[in-house]
Protein backbone atom coordinates (compact mmCIF):
# COMPACT_ATOMS: atom_id res chain seq x y z
CA UNK A 1 0.00 0.00 0.00
CA UNK A 2 1.46 3.32 -0.95
CA UNK A 3 1.93 5.93 1.69
CA UNK A 4 0.44 9.43 1.32
CA UNK A 5 2.63 12.29 2.48
CA UNK A 6 2.32 16.07 2.52
CA UNK A 7 5.65 17.38 1.31
CA UNK A 8 7.31 20.14 -0.70
CA UNK A 9 8.78 19.71 -4.17
CA UNK A 10 12.30 19.73 -2.76
CA UNK A 11 11.38 17.06 -0.24
CA UNK A 12 9.72 14.99 -2.95
CA UNK A 13 12.91 15.05 -5.01
CA UNK A 14 14.95 14.00 -1.98
CA UNK A 15 12.53 11.14 -1.29
CA UNK A 16 12.74 10.02 -4.91
CA UNK A 17 16.52 10.16 -4.88
CA UNK A 18 16.56 8.06 -1.74
CA UNK A 19 14.47 5.45 -3.53
CA UNK A 20 16.79 5.55 -6.54
CA UNK A 21 19.71 4.67 -4.24
CA UNK A 22 22.54 6.61 -5.87
CA UNK A 23 26.08 5.59 -4.93
CA UNK A 24 27.29 9.18 -4.79
CA UNK A 25 25.66 12.52 -4.09
CA UNK A 26 27.63 15.74 -4.36
CA UNK A 27 25.87 19.07 -4.10
CA UNK A 28 26.39 22.65 -3.03
CA UNK A 29 23.53 24.54 -1.40
CA UNK A 30 21.65 27.29 -3.19
CA UNK A 31 18.17 28.70 -2.66
CA UNK A 32 15.66 27.28 -3.54
CA UNK A 33 17.33 23.87 -3.98
CA UNK A 34 18.76 23.73 -0.44
CA UNK A 35 16.14 21.50 1.14
CA UNK A 36 16.99 18.70 -1.30
CA UNK A 37 20.57 18.49 -0.06
CA UNK A 38 19.51 18.96 3.56
CA UNK A 39 17.04 16.09 3.43
CA UNK A 40 19.48 13.83 1.64
CA UNK A 41 22.07 14.57 4.32
CA UNK A 42 19.45 13.66 6.95
CA UNK A 43 18.77 10.34 5.19
CA UNK A 44 22.47 9.54 5.14
CA UNK A 45 22.71 10.46 8.81
CA UNK A 46 19.70 8.36 9.86
CA UNK A 47 20.91 5.42 7.80
CA UNK A 48 17.94 5.32 5.44
CA UNK A 49 20.24 6.13 2.51
CA UNK A 50 23.55 4.35 2.06
CA UNK A 51 25.72 6.45 -0.21
CA UNK A 52 28.83 8.58 -0.42
CA UNK A 53 27.54 12.07 0.38
CA UNK A 54 30.10 14.68 -0.58
CA UNK A 55 30.34 18.18 0.80
CA UNK A 56 31.83 20.23 -1.97
CA UNK A 57 33.08 23.78 -2.06
CA UNK A 58 31.20 24.95 -5.16
CA UNK A 59 28.76 23.90 -7.84
CA UNK A 60 31.65 23.60 -10.23
CA UNK A 61 33.14 21.01 -7.94
CA UNK A 62 29.76 19.37 -7.35
CA UNK A 63 29.37 18.70 -11.05
CA UNK A 64 33.03 17.71 -11.33
CA UNK A 65 32.69 15.28 -8.44
CA UNK A 66 29.73 13.50 -10.00
CA UNK A 67 31.64 13.40 -13.28
CA UNK A 68 34.40 11.59 -11.37
CA UNK A 69 32.03 9.20 -9.64
CA UNK A 70 30.08 8.52 -12.81
CA UNK A 71 33.40 7.84 -14.54
CA UNK A 72 33.83 5.00 -12.03
CA UNK A 73 30.40 3.63 -12.91
CA UNK A 74 28.67 4.90 -9.80
CA UNK A 75 25.05 6.09 -9.94
CA UNK A 76 25.43 9.80 -9.21
CA UNK A 77 23.13 12.67 -8.31
CA UNK A 78 23.51 16.38 -7.81
CA UNK A 79 21.17 19.34 -7.49
CA UNK A 80 21.48 23.05 -8.11
CA UNK A 81 19.74 26.22 -9.23
CA UNK A 82 20.28 29.43 -11.14
CA UNK A 83 23.78 30.88 -10.62
CA UNK A 84 24.88 27.46 -9.43
CA UNK A 85 23.80 25.89 -12.69
CA UNK A 86 25.71 28.55 -14.58
CA UNK A 87 28.77 27.92 -12.46
CA UNK A 88 28.49 24.26 -13.49
CA UNK A 89 28.12 24.95 -17.18
CA UNK A 90 31.59 23.78 -18.14
CA UNK A 91 30.97 20.52 -16.34
CA UNK A 92 27.59 20.05 -18.02
CA UNK A 93 29.39 19.66 -21.31
CA UNK A 94 32.03 17.33 -19.88
CA UNK A 95 29.28 15.13 -18.46
CA UNK A 96 27.13 14.95 -21.57
CA UNK A 97 30.09 14.62 -23.93
CA UNK A 98 31.46 11.78 -21.82
CA UNK A 99 28.01 10.16 -21.86
CA UNK A 100 27.83 9.86 -18.09
CA UNK A 101 24.26 9.13 -16.91
CA UNK A 102 24.20 11.71 -14.11
CA UNK A 103 20.84 12.90 -12.79
CA UNK A 104 20.52 16.48 -11.59
CA UNK A 105 17.65 18.39 -10.05
CA UNK A 106 17.54 22.05 -10.97
CA UNK A 107 15.34 24.45 -9.07
CA UNK A 108 14.43 26.96 -11.77
CA UNK A 109 15.41 30.39 -10.59
CA UNK A 110 16.08 33.72 -12.20
CA UNK A 111 19.60 34.87 -13.07
CA UNK A 112 21.38 37.95 -11.78
CA UNK A 113 21.31 40.87 -12.42
CA UNK A 114 19.01 42.15 -11.05
CA UNK A 115 19.56 39.71 -8.22
CA UNK A 116 16.52 37.58 -7.64
CA UNK A 117 15.98 34.28 -5.87
CA UNK A 118 12.55 33.59 -7.34
CA UNK A 119 11.47 31.32 -10.08
CA UNK A 120 11.86 31.61 -13.82
CA UNK A 121 13.39 29.32 -16.36
CA UNK A 122 16.18 31.43 -17.76
CA UNK A 123 18.76 29.26 -15.98
CA UNK A 124 17.98 25.91 -17.54
CA UNK A 125 16.75 27.26 -20.87
CA UNK A 126 20.10 29.01 -21.29
CA UNK A 127 21.58 25.49 -21.24
CA UNK A 128 19.64 23.85 -24.04
CA UNK A 129 22.92 23.38 -25.88
CA UNK A 130 24.62 21.59 -22.99
CA UNK A 131 23.79 18.12 -24.27
CA UNK A 132 21.59 17.31 -21.27
CA UNK A 133 18.10 15.93 -21.46
CA UNK A 134 15.82 18.55 -19.92
CA UNK A 135 12.60 17.53 -18.22
CA UNK A 136 10.15 19.98 -16.62
CA UNK A 137 7.49 19.06 -14.09
CA UNK A 138 4.13 20.50 -13.18
CA UNK A 139 3.56 19.48 -9.57
CA UNK A 140 5.18 17.83 -6.59
CA UNK A 141 4.01 14.33 -7.49
CA UNK A 142 5.40 14.68 -10.98
CA UNK A 143 8.66 15.96 -9.51
CA UNK A 144 8.94 12.78 -7.49
CA UNK A 145 7.93 10.45 -10.30
CA UNK A 146 10.08 12.20 -12.90
CA UNK A 147 13.16 12.08 -10.69
CA UNK A 148 12.83 8.30 -10.57
CA UNK A 149 12.16 8.15 -14.31
CA UNK A 150 15.24 10.31 -14.92
CA UNK A 151 17.57 7.57 -13.72
CA UNK A 152 15.95 5.10 -16.09
CA UNK A 153 16.22 7.48 -19.03
CA UNK A 154 19.81 8.55 -18.33
CA UNK A 155 21.07 5.00 -17.85
CA UNK A 156 19.33 3.50 -20.84
CA UNK A 157 22.15 1.93 -22.90
CA UNK A 158 20.89 3.65 -26.05
CA UNK A 159 20.74 7.03 -24.32
CA UNK A 160 23.58 7.27 -21.77
CA UNK A 161 23.05 11.01 -21.46
CA UNK A 162 22.68 13.06 -18.28
CA UNK A 163 19.22 14.25 -17.30
CA UNK A 164 18.21 17.53 -15.68
CA UNK A 165 14.88 17.52 -13.83
CA UNK A 166 13.58 21.08 -13.53
CA UNK A 167 11.22 22.30 -10.82
CA UNK A 168 9.96 25.87 -10.70
CA UNK A 169 11.65 27.57 -7.77
CA UNK A 170 9.39 28.14 -4.75
CA UNK A 171 6.15 27.49 -6.65
CA UNK A 172 7.14 23.82 -6.69
CA UNK A 173 10.24 23.56 -4.55
CA UNK A 174 8.64 25.16 -1.50
CA UNK A 175 4.96 24.30 -1.92
CA UNK A 176 3.58 21.44 0.11
CA UNK A 177 1.26 19.04 -1.61
CA UNK A 178 0.00 15.51 -1.20
CA UNK A 179 2.48 12.91 -2.46
CA UNK A 180 1.97 9.24 -3.06
CA UNK A 181 5.15 7.31 -2.50
CA UNK A 182 6.19 4.40 -4.65
CA UNK A 183 7.00 0.98 -3.30
CA UNK A 184 10.77 0.60 -2.84
CA UNK A 185 10.92 -2.93 -4.23
CA UNK A 186 9.07 -1.80 -7.35
CA UNK A 187 11.47 1.12 -7.79
CA UNK A 188 14.41 -1.27 -7.42
CA UNK A 189 12.94 -3.37 -10.21
CA UNK A 190 12.16 -0.32 -12.35
CA UNK A 191 15.68 1.14 -12.19
CA UNK A 192 18.07 -1.71 -11.42
CA UNK A 193 21.68 -0.55 -11.33
CA UNK A 194 23.45 -1.53 -14.50
CA UNK A 195 27.10 -1.35 -15.30
CA UNK A 196 28.14 0.65 -18.33
CA UNK A 197 31.01 0.38 -20.75
CA UNK A 198 32.41 3.92 -20.90
CA UNK A 199 33.68 3.84 -17.34
CA UNK A 200 37.13 3.46 -15.88
CA UNK A 201 38.23 -0.08 -15.17
CA UNK A 202 41.00 -1.10 -12.79
CA UNK A 203 41.35 -4.53 -14.42
CA UNK A 204 41.62 -3.20 -17.97
CA UNK A 205 42.51 0.49 -17.87
CA UNK A 206 40.48 3.00 -19.80
CA UNK A 207 41.11 6.61 -20.77
CA UNK A 208 37.92 8.61 -20.75
CA UNK A 209 36.77 12.13 -21.41
CA UNK A 210 39.73 12.25 -23.79
CA UNK A 211 40.66 14.50 -26.68
CA UNK A 212 39.18 13.91 -30.12
CA UNK A 213 40.54 16.20 -32.79
CA UNK A 214 38.98 17.14 -36.11
CA UNK A 215 39.40 13.59 -37.41
CA UNK A 216 37.08 12.00 -34.85
CA UNK A 217 35.25 14.83 -33.14
CA UNK A 218 32.33 15.00 -35.55
CA UNK A 219 31.62 11.30 -35.15
CA UNK A 220 31.55 11.54 -31.36
CA UNK A 221 29.18 14.51 -31.65
CA UNK A 222 27.01 12.66 -34.12
CA UNK A 223 26.71 9.83 -31.61
CA UNK A 224 25.46 12.33 -29.03
CA UNK A 225 22.83 13.59 -31.43
CA UNK A 226 21.66 10.04 -32.22
CA UNK A 227 21.49 9.22 -28.50
CA UNK A 228 19.38 12.32 -27.86
CA UNK A 229 17.02 11.44 -30.68
CA UNK A 230 16.69 7.90 -29.38
CA UNK A 231 15.96 9.32 -25.95
CA UNK A 232 12.60 10.53 -27.21
CA UNK A 233 11.28 6.97 -27.41
CA UNK A 234 12.95 6.04 -24.13
CA UNK A 235 11.32 8.98 -22.34
CA UNK A 236 7.90 7.92 -23.63
CA UNK A 237 8.48 4.27 -22.76
CA UNK A 238 9.92 5.00 -19.33
CA UNK A 239 6.81 7.00 -18.51
CA UNK A 240 4.51 4.28 -19.84
CA UNK A 241 6.26 1.60 -17.85
CA UNK A 242 6.12 3.84 -14.78
CA UNK A 243 2.39 4.17 -15.35
CA UNK A 244 1.95 0.40 -15.56
CA UNK A 245 3.90 -0.10 -12.34
CA UNK A 246 2.75 2.85 -10.27
CA UNK A 247 -0.50 4.02 -11.85
CA UNK A 248 0.69 7.50 -12.78
CA UNK A 249 1.76 8.62 -16.21
CA UNK A 250 2.42 12.01 -17.77
CA UNK A 251 2.31 11.50 -21.51
CA UNK A 252 6.07 10.98 -21.91
CA UNK A 253 7.54 13.86 -23.89
CA UNK A 254 4.36 15.96 -24.08
CA UNK A 255 0.83 16.03 -22.82
CA UNK A 256 -2.03 17.35 -24.94
CA UNK A 257 -4.95 18.56 -22.82
CA UNK A 258 -8.20 19.31 -24.63
CA UNK A 259 -6.30 19.82 -27.87
CA UNK A 260 -8.25 17.58 -30.22
CA UNK A 261 -10.73 20.16 -31.51
CA UNK A 262 -8.99 23.19 -30.03
CA UNK A 263 -8.86 26.37 -32.08
CA UNK A 264 -6.41 28.02 -29.71
CA UNK A 265 -3.67 26.09 -27.97
CA UNK A 266 -1.30 27.34 -25.31
CA UNK A 267 2.10 25.68 -24.93
CA UNK A 268 3.40 25.64 -21.35
CA UNK A 269 6.38 24.35 -19.40
CA UNK A 270 6.47 23.60 -15.70
CA UNK A 271 4.14 24.65 -12.92
CA UNK A 272 2.13 27.23 -14.87
CA UNK A 273 0.60 24.27 -16.68
CA UNK A 274 -1.60 23.61 -13.64
CA UNK A 275 -3.04 27.12 -13.63
CA UNK A 276 -3.56 26.89 -17.39
CA UNK A 277 -5.53 23.65 -16.96
CA UNK A 278 -7.95 25.47 -14.68
CA UNK A 279 -8.37 28.19 -17.31
CA UNK A 280 -8.87 25.65 -20.11
CA UNK A 281 -11.62 23.98 -18.08
CA UNK A 282 -13.29 27.34 -17.45
CA UNK A 283 -13.05 28.35 -21.13
CA UNK A 284 -14.41 25.00 -22.23
CA UNK A 285 -17.34 25.46 -19.85
CA UNK A 286 -18.05 28.70 -21.73
CA UNK A 287 -17.87 26.83 -25.03
CA UNK A 288 -14.48 28.22 -26.04
CA UNK A 289 -12.44 25.69 -27.96
CA UNK A 290 -9.07 25.97 -26.23
CA UNK A 291 -6.42 23.43 -25.38
CA UNK A 292 -3.13 23.07 -23.60
CA UNK A 293 0.11 21.51 -24.78
CA UNK A 294 2.45 20.76 -21.91
CA UNK A 295 6.07 20.29 -22.90
CA UNK A 296 7.49 17.85 -20.41
CA UNK A 297 10.74 17.60 -22.30
CA UNK A 298 12.55 20.40 -24.12
CA UNK A 299 15.73 18.43 -24.99
CA UNK A 300 15.28 16.34 -27.00
CA UNK A 301 12.63 18.54 -28.55
CA UNK A 302 9.40 16.68 -29.38
CA UNK A 303 9.30 18.03 -32.93
CA UNK A 304 6.87 15.60 -34.52
CA UNK A 305 4.58 15.39 -31.53
CA UNK A 306 4.04 19.12 -31.14
CA UNK A 307 3.42 19.57 -34.85
CA UNK A 308 0.88 16.75 -34.84
CA UNK A 309 -0.95 18.18 -31.83
CA UNK A 310 -1.26 21.77 -33.05
CA UNK A 311 -1.63 21.22 -36.79
CA UNK A 312 -5.39 21.88 -36.87
CA UNK A 313 -5.39 24.81 -34.44
CA UNK A 314 -6.06 28.35 -35.64
CA UNK A 315 -3.47 29.93 -33.36
CA UNK A 316 -0.89 28.74 -30.86
CA UNK A 317 0.66 30.65 -27.98
CA UNK A 318 3.95 29.64 -26.40
CA UNK A 319 4.26 30.79 -22.81
CA UNK A 320 7.67 30.75 -21.24
CA UNK A 321 9.46 32.20 -18.26
CA UNK A 322 12.42 33.03 -20.44
CA UNK A 323 13.58 35.52 -23.05
CA UNK A 324 16.60 35.60 -25.31
CA UNK A 325 17.07 39.35 -25.30
CA UNK A 326 16.94 40.90 -28.72
CA UNK A 327 14.90 38.06 -30.10
CA UNK A 328 12.31 35.85 -28.43
CA UNK A 329 11.91 33.01 -25.95
CA UNK A 330 14.16 30.03 -26.64
CA UNK A 331 11.30 27.55 -26.55
CA UNK A 332 9.31 29.67 -28.98
CA UNK A 333 12.18 29.53 -31.48
CA UNK A 334 12.37 25.77 -31.09
CA UNK A 335 8.64 25.40 -31.40
CA UNK A 336 8.41 27.44 -34.60
CA UNK A 337 11.30 25.54 -36.08
CA UNK A 338 9.59 22.26 -35.25
CA UNK A 339 6.42 23.39 -37.03
CA UNK A 340 8.43 24.51 -40.04
CA UNK A 341 10.30 21.17 -40.16
CA UNK A 342 7.02 19.34 -40.07
CA UNK A 343 5.34 21.58 -42.64
CA UNK A 344 2.70 22.87 -40.23
CA UNK A 345 1.66 26.45 -40.87
CA UNK A 346 -0.20 27.80 -37.84
CA UNK A 347 0.12 31.37 -36.56
CA UNK A 348 2.09 31.47 -33.32
CA UNK A 349 2.73 33.98 -30.57
CA UNK A 350 5.25 34.12 -27.78
CA UNK A 351 4.14 35.13 -24.29
CA UNK A 352 7.02 35.95 -22.01
CA UNK A 353 6.02 36.10 -18.38
CA UNK A 354 6.60 34.86 -14.90
CA UNK A 355 10.06 36.42 -14.85
CA UNK A 356 11.79 36.71 -11.50
CA UNK A 357 8.92 35.01 -9.70
CA UNK A 358 6.04 37.14 -11.02
CA UNK A 359 2.85 35.09 -10.72
CA UNK A 360 0.98 34.22 -13.89
CA UNK A 361 -2.71 34.59 -13.11
CA UNK A 362 -5.73 32.82 -14.51
CA UNK A 363 -6.80 36.16 -15.97
CA UNK A 364 -3.47 36.46 -17.79
CA UNK A 365 -4.01 33.07 -19.35
CA UNK A 366 -7.64 33.54 -20.26
CA UNK A 367 -6.68 36.85 -21.86
CA UNK A 368 -4.15 35.01 -23.99
CA UNK A 369 -6.73 32.44 -25.05
CA UNK A 370 -9.13 35.24 -26.01
CA UNK A 371 -6.43 36.94 -28.05
CA UNK A 372 -5.55 33.70 -29.81
CA UNK A 373 -9.20 32.90 -30.50
CA UNK A 374 -9.66 36.38 -31.93
CA UNK A 375 -6.67 35.83 -34.18
CA UNK A 376 -4.60 38.59 -32.57
CA UNK A 377 -1.24 37.12 -33.50
CA UNK A 378 0.35 40.06 -35.27
CA UNK A 379 2.76 40.82 -32.46
CA UNK A 380 4.90 37.71 -32.20
CA UNK A 381 6.61 38.39 -28.87
CA UNK A 382 4.64 39.79 -25.98
CA UNK A 383 5.75 40.46 -22.42
CA UNK A 384 2.86 39.66 -20.10
CA UNK A 385 1.92 42.32 -17.57
CA UNK A 386 4.68 44.84 -18.07
CA UNK A 387 3.87 47.65 -15.64
CA UNK A 388 4.42 50.71 -17.77
CA UNK A 389 3.20 52.98 -15.00
CA UNK A 390 5.07 52.01 -11.91
CA UNK A 391 3.19 52.52 -8.68
CA UNK A 392 5.84 52.40 -5.98
CA UNK A 393 3.23 51.78 -3.33
CA UNK A 394 2.23 48.47 -4.90
Amino acid sequence: MSEKLFVSGDEAVALAVRQAKPHVIAAYPITPQTIVVERLADYVEDGSLDCQYMYVESEHSAMSAVIGSAAMGARSFTATSSQGLLYMVEGLHYASGSRFPIVMMNANRSLAAPWNIYGDQRDSLSQLESGWIQLYVENVQEAFDTTIQAFKIAEDPEVMTPVMVNLDGFVLTHTYEPLEMTDQAAVDAYIPYQDYINKLNLEDPVSTCITAGPTYNTEFRYQQQIAMLKAEKVIDESDEEFGRLFGRTYGGMVEAYQCEDAEAILVTIGSVTGTARVVVDACRAEGKKVGLLKLRCVRPFPTEKVAEIVKNAKAVGVMERDISFGFEGAVYSDFNSALKQQGVDVPTCNYVGGLGGRSISKEDISGIFDALLAGNTEKPVEFINVRRDIDYGA
Binding site: F6, F170, T175, Y176, T275, R277
Partner: protein, 182 residues
Amino acid sequence: MIEIRWHGRGGQGAFTAARLLGDAVVCDDKSALAFPSFGPERRGAPVLAFTRIDDAPIKDRSDVVDCDCAIVLDETLLGAPVKAGLKPGAKVIINTMKPAEVFDFSDCEDCKVITVDATGLALKILGRPITNVPLLGALTAATELTSLDSIYKAIDTQLPEKVRAKNKTLLEETYNTVKEAL
Protein backbone atom coordinates in the same frame (compact mmCIF):
# COMPACT_ATOMS: atom_id res chain seq x y z
CA MET B 1 -11.76 26.02 -3.33
CA ILE B 2 -11.08 27.47 0.09
CA GLU B 3 -8.12 29.79 0.50
CA ILE B 4 -6.62 30.63 3.86
CA ARG B 5 -4.07 33.38 4.46
CA TRP B 6 -1.81 33.36 7.49
CA HIS B 7 -0.23 36.60 8.72
CA GLY B 8 2.77 36.23 10.95
CA ARG B 9 6.28 37.38 11.59
CA GLY B 10 9.34 35.43 10.50
CA GLY B 11 9.98 32.81 13.19
CA GLN B 12 6.40 32.63 14.51
CA GLY B 13 5.57 29.53 12.52
CA ALA B 14 2.85 30.86 10.22
CA PHE B 15 3.99 28.57 7.45
CA THR B 16 4.09 25.60 9.81
CA ALA B 17 0.43 26.24 10.62
CA ALA B 18 -0.40 26.52 6.91
CA ARG B 19 1.36 23.18 6.37
CA LEU B 20 -0.31 21.48 9.34
CA LEU B 21 -3.70 22.51 8.03
CA GLY B 22 -2.83 21.23 4.55
CA ASP B 23 -1.56 17.94 5.89
CA ALA B 24 -4.66 17.57 8.07
CA VAL B 25 -7.11 18.01 5.21
CA VAL B 26 -5.05 15.58 3.11
CA CYS B 27 -5.64 13.10 5.96
CA ASP B 28 -9.34 13.82 5.38
CA ASP B 29 -8.85 12.77 1.72
CA LYS B 30 -9.11 16.30 0.44
CA SER B 31 -6.46 18.06 -1.55
CA ALA B 32 -4.32 20.93 -0.34
CA LEU B 33 -1.44 23.20 -1.22
CA ALA B 34 0.53 24.99 1.45
CA PHE B 35 3.11 27.60 0.61
CA PRO B 36 4.84 30.56 2.19
CA SER B 37 5.16 34.04 0.74
CA PHE B 38 8.42 33.12 -0.89
CA GLY B 39 11.33 35.23 0.03
CA PRO B 40 14.33 35.98 2.11
CA GLU B 41 12.41 37.47 5.05
CA ARG B 42 14.35 37.29 8.26
CA ARG B 43 13.13 36.70 11.79
CA GLY B 44 10.62 39.35 12.82
CA ALA B 45 9.68 40.54 9.34
CA PRO B 46 5.99 40.31 8.42
CA VAL B 47 5.37 37.15 6.37
CA LEU B 48 2.43 35.48 4.73
CA ALA B 49 1.58 31.83 4.30
CA PHE B 50 -1.24 30.22 2.41
CA THR B 51 -3.30 27.06 2.46
CA ARG B 52 -5.49 26.14 -0.48
CA ILE B 53 -8.06 23.42 0.13
CA ASP B 54 -10.33 21.63 -2.28
CA ASP B 55 -12.06 18.29 -2.72
CA ALA B 56 -10.45 17.77 -6.13
CA PRO B 57 -6.68 17.90 -6.82
CA ILE B 58 -5.53 21.52 -6.91
CA LYS B 59 -3.88 22.68 -10.11
CA ASP B 60 -4.01 26.45 -9.75
CA ARG B 61 -0.54 27.75 -8.91
CA SER B 62 -1.10 31.45 -9.27
CA ASP B 63 -0.84 33.69 -6.23
CA VAL B 64 -3.70 33.67 -3.74
CA VAL B 65 -5.60 36.90 -4.36
CA ASP B 66 -8.86 36.53 -2.40
CA CYS B 67 -9.20 34.50 0.74
CA ASP B 68 -11.91 32.89 2.77
CA CYS B 69 -10.09 33.30 6.01
CA ALA B 70 -7.26 35.48 7.31
CA ILE B 71 -5.45 34.46 10.47
CA VAL B 72 -3.39 37.00 12.34
CA LEU B 73 -0.72 35.49 14.56
CA ASP B 74 0.15 38.79 16.17
CA GLU B 75 -2.26 41.73 16.46
CA THR B 76 0.51 44.20 15.73
CA LEU B 77 0.26 42.94 12.15
CA LEU B 78 -3.26 44.28 11.72
CA GLY B 79 -3.59 46.68 8.84
CA ALA B 80 -4.30 46.93 5.15
CA PRO B 81 -2.70 43.58 4.18
CA VAL B 82 -5.09 41.73 6.49
CA LYS B 83 -8.12 43.42 4.95
CA ALA B 84 -6.90 42.95 1.39
CA GLY B 85 -8.83 40.49 -0.76
CA LEU B 86 -11.21 39.18 1.87
CA LYS B 87 -14.09 37.39 0.18
CA PRO B 88 -17.61 38.37 1.35
CA GLY B 89 -18.34 36.49 4.56
CA ALA B 90 -14.65 35.89 5.22
CA LYS B 91 -13.51 35.07 8.72
CA VAL B 92 -10.67 36.93 10.40
CA ILE B 93 -9.10 35.25 13.38
CA ILE B 94 -6.92 37.47 15.53
CA ASN B 95 -4.57 36.62 18.36
CA THR B 96 -5.42 39.26 20.96
CA MET B 97 -6.74 39.72 24.47
CA LYS B 98 -9.28 42.21 23.18
CA PRO B 99 -12.84 41.36 22.22
CA ALA B 100 -13.80 41.06 18.54
CA GLU B 101 -15.93 44.20 18.64
CA VAL B 102 -12.95 46.54 18.91
CA PHE B 103 -11.70 45.55 15.44
CA ASP B 104 -13.36 47.46 12.66
CA PHE B 105 -13.81 45.33 9.55
CA SER B 106 -17.00 47.12 8.50
CA ASP B 107 -15.47 47.89 5.10
CA CYS B 108 -15.20 44.13 4.41
CA GLU B 109 -18.53 42.66 3.35
CA ASP B 110 -20.06 40.32 5.95
CA CYS B 111 -16.70 39.80 7.52
CA LYS B 112 -16.70 37.97 10.86
CA VAL B 113 -13.95 38.66 13.39
CA ILE B 114 -13.04 36.05 15.98
CA THR B 115 -10.49 36.75 18.66
CA VAL B 116 -8.57 34.46 20.95
CA ASP B 117 -5.77 34.98 23.45
CA ALA B 118 -3.48 32.50 21.78
CA THR B 119 -0.40 34.02 23.37
CA GLY B 120 -1.85 33.52 26.84
CA LEU B 121 -2.73 29.89 26.12
CA ALA B 122 0.64 29.22 24.54
CA LEU B 123 2.48 30.71 27.53
CA LYS B 124 0.41 28.58 29.88
CA ILE B 125 0.98 25.29 28.04
CA LEU B 126 4.22 25.66 26.10
CA GLY B 127 5.81 28.26 28.30
CA ARG B 128 6.63 30.17 25.11
CA PRO B 129 4.53 32.61 23.06
CA ILE B 130 4.27 30.43 19.96
CA THR B 131 0.85 31.02 18.52
CA ASN B 132 0.65 29.11 15.27
CA VAL B 133 -0.85 25.86 16.59
CA PRO B 134 -3.40 27.55 18.89
CA LEU B 135 -4.60 29.69 15.98
CA LEU B 136 -4.99 26.53 13.92
CA GLY B 137 -7.17 25.28 16.78
CA ALA B 138 -9.17 28.51 16.67
CA LEU B 139 -9.56 28.23 12.90
CA THR B 140 -10.79 24.65 13.22
CA ALA B 141 -13.30 25.65 15.88
CA ALA B 142 -14.54 28.52 13.73
CA THR B 143 -14.69 26.70 10.40
CA GLU B 144 -14.64 22.92 10.96
CA LEU B 145 -12.41 22.70 7.87
CA THR B 146 -10.85 19.64 9.42
CA SER B 147 -10.93 17.71 12.68
CA LEU B 148 -8.64 17.77 15.69
CA ASP B 149 -7.85 14.12 14.99
CA SER B 150 -6.57 14.96 11.53
CA ILE B 151 -4.45 17.79 12.91
CA TYR B 152 -3.01 15.39 15.48
CA LYS B 153 -1.93 13.18 12.59
CA ALA B 154 -0.42 16.17 10.82
CA ILE B 155 1.43 17.17 14.00
CA ASP B 156 2.86 13.66 14.14
CA THR B 157 4.41 13.98 10.69
CA GLN B 158 5.25 17.68 10.51
CA LEU B 159 6.53 18.56 13.99
CA PRO B 160 9.54 17.24 15.90
CA GLU B 161 8.62 14.51 18.35
CA LYS B 162 9.49 16.40 21.52
CA VAL B 163 6.99 19.22 20.90
CA ARG B 164 4.08 17.12 19.67
CA ALA B 165 2.29 16.31 22.94
CA LYS B 166 2.21 19.87 24.27
CA ASN B 167 1.09 21.27 20.94
CA LYS B 168 -1.77 18.78 20.83
CA THR B 169 -2.88 19.90 24.28
CA LEU B 170 -2.61 23.52 23.24
CA LEU B 171 -4.53 22.83 20.05
CA GLU B 172 -7.37 21.19 21.94
CA GLU B 173 -7.52 23.87 24.58
CA THR B 174 -7.72 26.70 22.03
CA TYR B 175 -10.28 24.78 20.03
CA ASN B 176 -12.46 24.38 23.13
CA THR B 177 -12.00 28.01 24.19
CA VAL B 178 -13.13 29.32 20.80
CA LYS B 179 -15.98 26.80 20.53
CA GLU B 180 -17.30 27.97 23.89
CA ALA B 181 -17.05 31.61 22.90
CA LEU B 182 -18.93 31.01 19.65
